[in-house]
Symmetry: C2
């Protein structure tokens, strides 16, 4: 597009580098900021810089944290022998919201993805293995997305974990039909998995309570 101003052109370019934001949306956002008080842009820019420069990661689980060790890892009422491996902070938040999980986490910072150029060394896999070697970890739950990249990462981690001296139990979150989901509209692979991994009815009744 032909912008009548270089500055406008530059800001549209910068904003549209963000994922899911095209030139049109970028222009809309830039024009919106022009109509707002200058302080809003000031505050946005300053917070962006502070966030990018000062953000810290928990030295135990690698989750984003304001303290050296995050609140979850500091919580003594949680089971520190149970580690749930997730991709990023959003997954931690999603699992915490269920209120059902009492173990701790390990945040990988991504999943292995050859297409996007993310290799195992870009993730905190080394830190995970060291953590399991050095602390008494009873079980590791692999809780990655049920995508090709997620499965690849699961297999990679499974092999790595099995090469350790003290091999923990290794589990993965259940795949099956969603609660409230209709059989008819569930894809075949998911349906097959939900039959293979069926659970005793007694147990299912208890969970529904």
């Amino acid at each position: 597009m032909n912008y009548p101003s270089k500055l406008l052109n530059e800001i549209v370019d910068e904003i549209s580098k963000l994922p899911g934001i095209g030139k049109r949306t970028a222009l809309r956002l830039a024009l919106y900021l022009l109509k707002q008080p200058q302080e809003q842009t000031q505050s946005l820019a300053e917070t962006l810089l502070r966030f990018r420069n000062e953000i810290k990661y928990c030295k135990v689980c690698n989750n984003i944290s304001d303290t050296e060790v995050c609140e979850i890892c500091q919580d003594n009422s949680r089971d520190h022998t149970l580690v749930c491996v997730v991709e990023d902070i959003r997954d931690v938040m999603a699992i915490e919201k269920t209120g059902e999980y009492k173990g701790v986490y390990h945040v990988l910072g991504g999943i292995i993805s050859p297409l996007e150029g993310i290799s195992p060394t870009d993730l905190t896999i080394k830190e995970l293995l060291e953590r399991i070697e050095n602390y008494q970890i009873r079980e590791v739950i692999l809780a990655l997305s049920a995508t090709v990249d997620g499965d690849t990462t699961n297999f990679y981690l499974y092999r790595k974990l099995n090469s350790l001296k003290n091999i923990p139990d290794i589990s993965t979150i259940a795949r099956g039909i969603s609660v409230g989901g209709e059989l008819e509209y569930t894809d075949e692979i998911t349906l097959a998995r939900s039959i293979q991994n069926r659970v005793p009815f007694d147990q299912s009744i208890k969970q529904n309570k």
Copy 2:
């Protein structure tokens, strides 16, 4: 949502103030920036500030411009007696893209919207009236969106323009079915307007060439 970090909370709040961006998207954008080189955030923040603080408006037409008078207003090959009144720079860009318009513009900076608290004094209506009083303007084209707010603004401008000493011709852009549009799917009001404002067939043939 419960974020494990104040800084993360702050940046999500700041980003989600932008229109059309919710907390979820804001979190996604913030995490994206963390994975990119620090320079990207630096450059984004600096460009935001520079854009907001240094942007200039053409002193003739109020369009965004890097110079005191914008390129369009400086162009002597254009008809400066024909002024097209638009809401913002996006409309100027849209009309310029057609390559059909040879007059100049007047950018209102918005439209009158009681719901959003935008009154006539927030717009450059006074500047428009002064411009018409002081320069020889032959015709004013009102090219605002065909919405309730757009129509309100059109009527307001029409009355103001008619109270001037030298009343220019006042026209508005045609409303009718889109080129390529099917009659069957056109709403009744638009269809009625397209019949009321029918044009001689000869003229229409010439335009299709």
